[in-house]
Amino acid sequence: MSRPISRRHFLRQSSCAAVGSTAILSTILNLRMAAASAAQSLPAAAAADDYKALVCLFFSGGQDSYNLLVPAGAEHAAYATTRGGVNNPTTNPGGLALAQASLLALPASAYAPFLLGLHPSMTGLHALFTRGKLALAANVGTLVERTTKAQYLNSTAKLPLGLYSHSDQQQQWQTSVPTENRTLGWAGMAADLLDAGNADRRIAMNLSLGGNNIWQSGRTLYPYSVSASASTNSGGVYSHTGGAVALAEYNNTTIGDTSRTASRTAAVNSLLGQQYQNLLEKTFATNFRDSLDNSALYTTALTGGAALTTKFPGETGYSADPAYVPNADPARGLASQLKMVVRSVAARGTIGHRRETFFINYGGWDHHDEVIATQAAMLDIVSRCLVSFYAALEELGAQNQVTLYTASDFGRTLTSNGNGSDHAWGGNHFVLGGAVNGGKVYGTYPDLSLTGPQIVTGRGVAVPSMSVDEYFVELALWLGVSPGNLADVLPRIGTFYTPGSAVPFGMMQL
């Protein structure tokens, strides 16, 4: 939930209230707002439209991402052996390797050591890679410190808490802290710093399509959830709508003698305005109040956004195929969430934010079973949705102002458990946007033979070569976090990178 409104009230009441502060005040009186010293000011807006948004697309469940980014040259042989051979539904149903010929090859310039290719379902994303709008990050994972195979095998490595556990690894991918059960996410911490630069701070700058999450939870700012409705049918035309929801028969502007709405509105305001001693009641009342306030503001603001002509999967007009049934497209759920992000971006002028974050949770990747078929279907959904997403941003001219990155609990074991794979560690990810130095694979893609220098346990677990901190740091800098504040946002960044020095990979146009 978001708390900016109550905090704003607090500031208004407790500080010297900026109303009418004059030049004299600032020259002869050494008054400083206590809160102001904690916030980081954004650089003065150079352009009229200084806006940036960071989108986290979280693949919860742990994607088998060594089939997302795959060796496409000579190294394919070792990959195929480790994965139990190339999958064939009849002759080798337990094999988890993709056929070399099926891969969407990346150019040799993408990754110097050897050839790589994308999963065959990702045709749209492959095209964006070719256009330089998409970059990949190889073998990323949670790390307490740089870890070698030898350290892992002789148990001298400091390992993340709850390594291989869904809940713990999801949390650590959102906090960037693998050494404790932290409840503050790195986007939330960044937002706490950057929110001061937002012109209108009444609406939360952390918008979530995936409900409450740790990633967007800061000390003062919480995620604010909005909803996306897949495939709303209006006269046979399917489109994705959504936004904030309003409370029934509640209207702060309607005042009448005896109407139910007036009575209910007054009572709800009174009930929620009380001071509750019990902390659960207090939390409930605060959340309810924030939902009411944010919903009214956000609904109004959204109407200020430009209409989009780009069609998303699940919308009428997405496909020219007459057999296409919009509300049967399995991509419509994710598509509606991405469209909601774009609609918010379109309304940035009325929402009044210079910095925003968006969280989308796209789950169902815990493929202990049927990984080959299910992953192929799901990556097709991801690819098609992101193509529409990027096209819609281009339509708005905002493609350089929005960056999307992927996250997931962990990678999966390279070896098969029959027809699926199990929980592992490092995995492959991608970053999408006009501000990305695309067309490249960053980091170090491991040798996937079971004897490879990054591969541990008989199951084929990749020890990450890129820490999540290194993966996130350029995203944080791009969003506007200053080098001096990086350690607030990514508390363990100093283990892997010295803030202020040259960035680790050059993934982003900074």
Partner: protein
């Protein structure tokens, strides 16, 4: 550098002037000044000044009455006055200090010489604390300072913010609480009120009390008319004796201050050994100054006698909110009759109301009537509701509630298509939880492990031993989750559920990835145990092959040694499973022996008791049980009194009878209770008020999950709808507490859930949402009829009854007041002679009150 010397600067800056007239800030509102003395009438009432001359200074503090009226200070008290001081401050700074009042505005002016123009040096909003304005004396010319004080009217309603605060109005709303029409502003209301006489009435807003549950009874003393401070006299009558039967107000009068229109008299019942039946307390308005008594001039409270072991209605309602899907008035009476421990014992003796037989029956009925209906998961969900709502003499509400709690620990979910496709399998799984709810956890853990639905969900059904030639290894899914979620958890625990720490203060993992790999080998070789004879002959026969077709998910899995890893395996805490020999013919005996030993190994781990008990307490009683509470319950898990480990019935009894669950004093603890799952709030509503349907069935419930992010057996993953350790940011996290259920309350569900309750209260609980069931007479609705008499003539009693039923009488006095006032704002049923309109109005009152109770924090949090 004498200029930096504080004393020198202090001397040069010592000329201070306070201006109390609106010298530079325009007066923003027309004050209410009925006596035309230029001073606010509300200010006069606030300080009880009467009509004073504007220029006089009766307290001799140097400020005229007019000046003090503008400053908001007391003209009859010299200590209350405007002022401006200069002081030393830290860091070599100086600071100005002046008294500041919320609702006023202060502008600081400075000048270097009095014959030059004053310049503004800042505007300050009032704060009710001294305003400090530090500044650096360096480079400051000798100067004078002046503060001008002015009123602010934020909402532009003609009443100054300071004035609105004195009478409890909202300075930011021109029509403070929506009373009156849009054109009647706060100022108009006040101006009108100041010319009226007061009428005083009394209402019992929380009328039932009991000797052994000292929740106070409340009587509201209300006045309409004026805003002036008055003292209302009353008399106390009735059969109860003040002092011995109850502790009432100290005096027979109560003050209503400026602008206050309601105060509450509180009556705390006292326990005595007398057998005296229910007694009464009658509060009657007596004569006094500046008011007359209205029609409702007396109110009656009851004090129930409480013999040892008896249970008050509120206490019983609270208990049932913990132990069942929600209180009903008959069940409250049953608890009062049997006592809490006796009620639990009776529940233990009731046989389970199983799900599977009813699912099969309804599936068959529907398939016969409408062959294309593809009956299945809808019927399964409907059976869940049927059992949850059952209130007849054989109903087993405690068992159903505990099984539901277990279903959120031993999670399977119909979001998995394979599971949604086997409604009988899922119903059979729930029947295991029902049967073992008061049984032994070892049995339950074993049955869950062998249940095909779990095998499908966590993919150990048809899990095979390793084939190194193909780099194929056993599936680790179930091995991991049975440890992490169903038995021991990630970290070594003490007996009270707290984590064990190593010398460096770090928690100790219970297992390693090697342990997982080892347990994964245990859970190989399991497949369906029973199958249909063929695709058309649904006669059940045992399976004979690992990959047999037509396996059914409602009979346990069996072992196939040919597919099982027979090598030796290390378990936890040093236990080792021996290498085994495959049975011939393959009965799966070796497989089953390994599985049983592994389940034993986990069941007997010291973590399992505290790990499980903590979560059961969280599901039933409180999100943040003390370590001692967990320890007491875990001790019962370890040994039930007869030396048996894992007795869930004894655990449930220990949880519900513990002092942290039962004591009245815990209600006041800031960390008591849990946020009720929105889904279970809805179940509680339907249980209490859902009328019967034409054919006894409940349809359309599937529409709920979008609004609540919740429905039975539809968790997004094996991690349930929320994590037991979820910490919502804010006061809970600040206090180091968790709030698991808060995880699914967000900006969307924070509104959609209340809206669902609105729809339920106004219209329909369950509406048909299916293409093959179209008879709207089968919708489930709330019947308002039993509530209409009270709604008509004594809405306070109706609200109190709703409070008792849903919130266990825990609605605060303020919440009761807000709800009662909202209800009384609606058109009065007695204001019309037309019986139809009267019923409509009474129904409206009931529906509004119900909705407000259902969205109140006191109902939504179970304390």
């Amino acid at each position: 550098m004498h200029t930096a010397h504080p004393r020198a600067a202090l001397q040069r800056c010592a000329r201070l002037i306070v201006g109390v007239a609106a010298l530079t800030l325009p007066q923003l509102h027309a004050i209410i000044d009925r006596d035309e003395n230029q001073q606010s009438d509300l200010w006069q009432l606030r300080f009880d000044t009467g009509n004073l001359a504007a220029a006089a200074d009766p307290d001799g503090d140097g400020y005229s009455n007019l000046g003090e009226a503008l400053a908001g200070t007391n003209p009859l008290d010299a200590r209350s006055a405007p002022g401006l001081k200069l002081e030393n401050a830290a860091g070599g700074l100086l600071q100005l200090r002046w008294p500041s009042l919320l609702g006023k505005r202060y502008e600081l002016f400075t000048t270097s010489a009095l014959n030059t123009a004053w310049a503004s040096a800042g505007v300050y909003a009032g704060s009710d604390e001294d305003q400090l304005a530090p500044f650096s004396p360096a480079g400051l010319p000798a100067g004078f300072f002046r503060v001008a004080i002015a009123d602010v009217d934020t909402d532009g309603d003609g009443l100054a913010d300071w004035e609105e605060r004195q009478i409890g109005f909202d300075p930011k709303r021109a029509n403070t609480d929506g009373y009156g029409s849009a054109t009647i502003t706060d100022a108009t209301r006040v101006a009108t009120a100041l010319g009226l006489l007061n009428t005083v009435t009394v209402f019992a807003i929380d009328p039932t009390t009991a000797e052994n549950w000292p929740d106070p009874g409340l009587v509201a003393v209300r006045r309409t008319g004026n805003l002036d401070p008055i003292v209302v006299n009353f008399t106390l009558g009735g059969t109860a004796t003040a002092g011995s039967d109850y502790q009432g107000p100290a005096t027979a009068s109560v003050a209503l201050g400026l602008g206050v229109d309601e105060v509450w008299l509180s009556f705390v019942p006292r326990t005595d050994a007398l057998v005296e039946g229910t007694e009464t307390i009658v509060v009657t308005v007596a004569k006094g100054n500046n008011y007359t008594a209205g029609v409702a001039n007396s109110a009656t409270l009851t004090v129930a006698d409480s013999p040892a072991g008896s249970v008050s209605a509120k206490e019983a309602s609270r208990f049932l909110a913990q132990a069942t899907f929600g209180a009903t008035e008959p069940e409250i009476a049953r608890v009062q009759q049997l006592g809490i421990a006796g009620w639990i014992t009776e529940q233990f003796a009731r046989p389970p109301q199983y799900h599977l037989p009813l699912v099969v029956q309804w599936q068959n009925e529907l398939a016969a009537a409408i062959p294309a209906s593809n009956a299945g998961s809808t019927e399964r969900g409907e059976v869940w509701w049927r059992r949850a709502l059952q209130t007849d003499a054989v109903s087993d509400p405690l068992r159903q509630r505990v099984a539901h709690a277990l279903s959120q620990i031993l999670v399977i979910s119909d979001r998995n298509g394979s599971l949604d496709g086997t409604p009988r399998g899922m119903a059979a799984y729930h029947d295991r939880l029902l049967e073992r709810a008061f049984g032994n956890y070892r049995d339950l853990l074993g049955e869950v492990t062998l249940h095909p639905t779990m095998g499908l969900y966590l993919s150990h059904l048809r899990n095979q031993k390793a084939d190194a030639t193909r780099n194929r290894y056993p599936d680790e899914n179930y091995a991991r989750e049975i440890m992490q979620l169903f038995s021991i958890g990630l970290w070594e625990l003490n007996a009270d559920g707290s984590r064990k720490l190593d010398g460096a203060g770090q928690p100790l993992p219970t297992y390693t990835n090697d342990t997982i790999a080892s347990f994964a080998r245990v859970f190989t070789g399991l497949s369906y145990g029973q199958r249909f004879t063929s695709g058309t002959d649904q006669t059940l026969i045992p399976t004979t092959r690992f990959f047999d077709s037509y396996g059914v998910a409602w009979e346990p899995m069996r072992g196939f040694d040919a597919y099982h890893d027979l090598e030796a395996k290390a378990l936890l805490r040093g236990a080792v499973l021996p290498a085994r020999t495959a049975s011939v013919p393959d009965t799966g005996a070796a497989t089953m022996a390994d599985v049983a030993a592994a389940v034993d190994n986990l069941f007997n781990h010291p973590n399992t008791g505290p790990f499980l008990c903590r979560q059961l307490i969280q599901r039933l009683v409180t999100s943040n049980p003390s370590p001692a509470y967990i320890g007491r319950v875990a001790a019962v898990f370890a040994a039930n009194g007869a030396g048996v480990r894992g007795d869930l019935g004894a655990v449930v009894r220990a949880i519900l009878l513990d002092t942290e669950a039962r004591s009245f004093a815990r209600l006041a603890a800031v960390d008591q209770g849990l946020q009720r799952e929105p889904f279970l709030r809805y179940v509680a509503l339907v249980r209490a008020l859902g009328g019967p349907t034409a054919d006894g069935r409940r349809r359309g419930f599937r529409g709920l999950d979008g609004e609540f992010l919740q429905r039975a057996y539809s968790a997004p993953s094996v991690f349930n709808f929320y994590l037991p350790a979820y910490q919502p940011l804010g006061p809970l996290t600040d206090a180091g507490l968790v709030g698991p259920e808060v995880q699914i309350t967000n900006g969307v569900t924070g509104i959609t859930a209340p809206n669902r309750f609105y729809y339920a209260a106004q219209a329909t609980l369950f509406q048909l949402n299916s293409s093959y069931q179209t008879d709207t007479a089968l919708d489930t609705k709330i019947d308002p009829a039993p509530w209409l008499d009270d709604a008509t003539s004594q809405p306070e009693v109706m609200v109190a009854r709703l409070d008792r039923l849903f919130a266990a009488g825990q609605l605060s006095a303020r919440s009761l007041r807000h709800i009662c006032r909202a209800v009384r704002r609606l058109p009065d049923p007695l204001g019309t002679a037309d019986p139809a309109i009267r019923t409509t109005r009474a129904t409206d009152r009931f529906r509004l009150a119900l909705h407000l109770v259902l969205i109140s924090p006191e109902f939504c949090v179970l304390k």
